[in-house]
């Protein structure tokens, strides 16, 4: 087993259930720092579950296997500790928190993480300076900052807000869950551009998507196909193109059974 410095995430034989139902059934995945991995797969394959399990969401129970994050057992950490250690999940459906100012929320998050790392908390001046820097890099206007967290945001605004939060929190590992869903092509470009600007040798990303479309804009180093709770195929960006052309049934024809009970004996 390689335990090099650059191994960000190592998932071994991960099994997880949701509400008693097995969703992940022996998933293996290794992600190194600086890499972008795309995870594709049909609906119900367990793509979002993987993100939630990594983030530690309640109700997503790991029944077997292990997850090492920077060499450390991720599964024993509370969700907020995982976040503070550098695991970031960009939500498929970002949550609205009425009455809570977006800036206030983000400052609370950033300072909680800084405190965890033993760094001094940012005062509001320092924080706003950072906000301005990041907004500029991402070409995002600051009107989102004056509103309540995701409240009344359009689909595109919500996703942009996620990417902006990621830029502010500077995670070691970012899991982007269906970041392209609900976006038109312009919004998609904007969001993808924001993600690309955050690619760095120190950061790993897992991009979960149903469609190849996003991967034209965020070109991954590796593509994995998740089906029936397992990685059933891995390759480079070419694999995504092939999937797009031939659909997920192509994998079945290749002798792989992506869906449980699809081929009853």
């Amino acid at each position: 087993m390689k335990e090099s410095e650059q191994t960000m995430l190592e998932i071994r034989n991960l099994h997880a259930t949701v509400g008693g139902k097995a969703i992940l059934k022996g998933l293996d995945l290794t992600v190194n720092a600086g890499e972008v991995h795309a995870i594709m797969g049909p609906n119900g394959a367990g793509k979002s579950t993987l993100g939630y399990v990594l983030a530690g969401r309640e109700g997503y129970e790991v029944t077997a296997g292990e997850v090492l994050f920077k060499g450390r057992n991720l599964l024993e950490l509370e969700p907020e500790e995982r976040a503070c250690e550098g695991v970031f999940l960009a939500f498929q459906y970002p949550v609205e928190i009425p009455g809570v100012n977006n800036t206030y929320f983000l400052r609370a998050a950033l300072n909680a993480q800084r405190k965890h790392r033993g760094e001094p908390e940012l005062d509001s001046m320092q924080f706003l300076k950072l906000v301005r820097e990041k907004l500029e890099i991402l070409h995002i206007s600051d009107d989102l900052m004056h509103r309540a967290v995701n409240e009344g945001f359009s689909g595109g605004e919500k996703k942009r807000n996620e990417i902006f939060q990621m830029a502010m929190l500077e995670p070691a590992l970012a899991v982007l869950d269906e970041t392209d869903s609900g976006l038109d092509i312009d919004a998609l470009r904007l969001v993808a551009d924001g993600v690309n600007r955050q690619r760095s040798p120190e950061r790993a990303m897992i991009v979960v998507t149903h469609y190849q479309r996003l991967l034209e804009h965020i070109v991954p180093d590796f593509v994995h196909v998740l089906a029936d709770g397992k990685i059933v195929a891995s390759g480079d960006a070419e694999l995504a193109l092939k999937l797009e052309e031939q659909g997920y049934t192509w994998l079945e024809q290749g002798g792989i059974k992506p869906l449980a009970g699809a081929n009853p004996a």
Partner: protein
């Protein structure tokens, strides 16, 4: 009862606190408590001890006789053991210094911890905890030194007892004119035995130069508290009044039945804000204040406005419906409320908006938060009289549940007697979102911080109606009150 100042950091208040004794308020603070029980003699004793005129004694006695014929209301969504009104002492003057804790070392550390969390300034803590420093009072109002400054503006702000002596004609004219003694069981009780309270008079055309604030608290165990507050705003007058409460830890249930009357004449406006944080009982529901309050404002003049804002986090039982009678044409009534019940607290609270004048408007924003085993009921009446052409009401009533053992209940009553009226009612009930909580956690925010953030956001519409420093305190209170509600 007592009136002290809220422990906030506003310079004007600090100033007030330091200035307090310069003006040499003098009172005979010989401690005195009547034995438990209520009869005509007790009413006479209270009136005599306060040196009241004959007419007021008669008024009290009449209220007492009414009260005897009334029953305690049982329609509220509250589970209360019957209260033995003969087991309560109806008057308590300040304790003498030797009966008090001599320093903060003698005060319940849990209480001090709460002050710490609330950010109560050090010099306020001893006063709030009832330590024998300077003067600390129970059932007698502390004279206020705002007075001199206010007098310049023609504003009268004094204890109710003083008003009885110094401005009997005003008291006599307005006392009971909004909440008559026969109004309800607790109002009748209060009218018979009220100890003291505040009196405010804003003359015609005067905008009160400062926020008027009183910090009520209860210090004597087993002593009912019966405040009486009367605020009168003459034509075009404006005033903002703040009432805040805190109470030390006590085991015994304490009965509290206050009456507040507001009168707004033509073009006058009164804003009345309350942060109520009385002892709610412990986590098993033992002890805590029983709070039965009658608060009512009368928009007597055209274009007058009365606005109630309340943040209710304390008391074991809260029974309270600050109301507006919109008599004047185009008068406006508002009610903004946050009520939180945690552990075994119960609240049945809301408002009444009685539209009588034409073109009257009212707005109700109610936010109920239930945690632990708390039970929280909103009860609101919107009545549009036949005479109230073009009356408008908007009601928004939101409930938030934290955990699985608490309850939220909504009892709206809408009576429309004029076809041109418009009444809107919106209501929501939500459990604190697991998805909201997870979203916060995923960004690194702790569960406790996440809950207070979400709750604070939920209450925002009400908090922004509070004066700044009060809003800060309200938020801190909510956080402290919610501790341990999750996880």
């Amino acid at each position: 009862m007592s009136t002290d100042q809220i422990p906030i950091k506003a310079p004007s208040v600090d100033h007030f606190v330091q200035q307090k004794y310069k003006h040499g308020f003098v009172t005979d603070i010989e401690s005195d408590t009547v034995p438990p029980g209520l009869n005509e003699d007790v009413v006479r004793w209270i009136s005599a001890r306060k040196g009241e005129p004959e007419w007021l004694l008669d008024w009290r006695l009449e209220a007492y006789r009414r009260w005897l014929q009334m029953d305690a209301p049982d329609w509220a969504h509250l589970k209360i053991d019957p209260i033995d009104f003969q087991a309560i002492s109806y008057f308590s003057a300040p304790k003498s210094d030797k009966d008090r804790p001599q320093s903060l070392d003698e005060v319940d550390p849990k209480l001090l911890e709460t002050y710490d969390k609330l950010g109560v300034p050090l010099h306020e803590r001893a006063r709030l905890a009832g330590v024998a420093v300077d003067a600390v009072f129970d059932s007698v109002s502390v004279g206020t030194t705002f007075r001199a400054e206010l007098m310049k503006a023609g504003v009268i702000f004094c204890s109710f007892s003083e008003a009885v002596h110094d401005h009997p004609e005003l008291v006599r004219q307005y006392l009971g004119s909004v909440v008559p003694p026969r109004d309800n069981f607790f109002a009748a009780l209060n009218s018979a035995v009220f100890s003291d309270g505040s009196f405010v008079y804003i003359p015609k055309g005067v905008r009160c130069p400062m926020e008027l604030s009183t910090y009520f608290r209860i210090n004597a165990a087993e002593t009912g508290q019966f405040e009486r507050t009367l605020i009168i705003a003459e034509e075009q007058a404006q005033v903002s009044y703040l009432e805040g409460c805190t109470a030390p830890m006590r085991d015994e249930n304490q009965l509290h039945a206050a009456v507040v009357e507001l009168v707004a004449l033509e073009d006058a406006s009164i804003k009345y804000s309350t942060v109520q944080n009385w002892y709610p009982g412990d986590e098993n529901g033992v002890g805590g204040i029983y709070n039965f309050v009658t608060k009512r404002g009368d928009c007597r003049g055209d274009r007058s406005k009365i606005s109630w804002t309340q943040v209710e986090t304390g008391s074991a039982i809260t029974w309270k419906y600050p109301s507006c009678i919109l008599r004047g044409e185009r008068s406006v009534g508002e009610f903004y409320s946050v009520a939180l019940t945690n552990n075994f607290q119960q609240a049945d609270t809301g408002t009444k908006m009685i539209h009588i004048g034409r073109d009257t408007r009212s707005k109700i924003i109610s936010k109920g938060i239930s945690a632990g085993h708390g039970q929280n009921a909103y009860r609101g009446l919107v009545r549009i009289a036949k005479s109230a052409a073009n009356a408008r009401n908007f009601t928004q009533c939101d409930s938030m549940l934290i955990g699985k053992s608490c309850g939220a209940h909504t009892f709206p009553y809408i009576e429309v007697g004029n076809p041109t009226a418009k009444v809107e009612h919106e209501a929501t009930t939500s459990r604190i979102g697991e998805d909201q909580l997870f979203y916060c956690l995923q960004r690194g925010i702790s569960e406790e911080d996440a809950v207070s953030m979400i709750v604070d956001g939920f209450c925002k519409q009400v908090f922004r109606e509070l004066p700044m420093e009060f809003a800060v305190e309200a938020k801190a209170l909510l956080e402290v009150s919610l501790e341990g509600a999750v996880g």
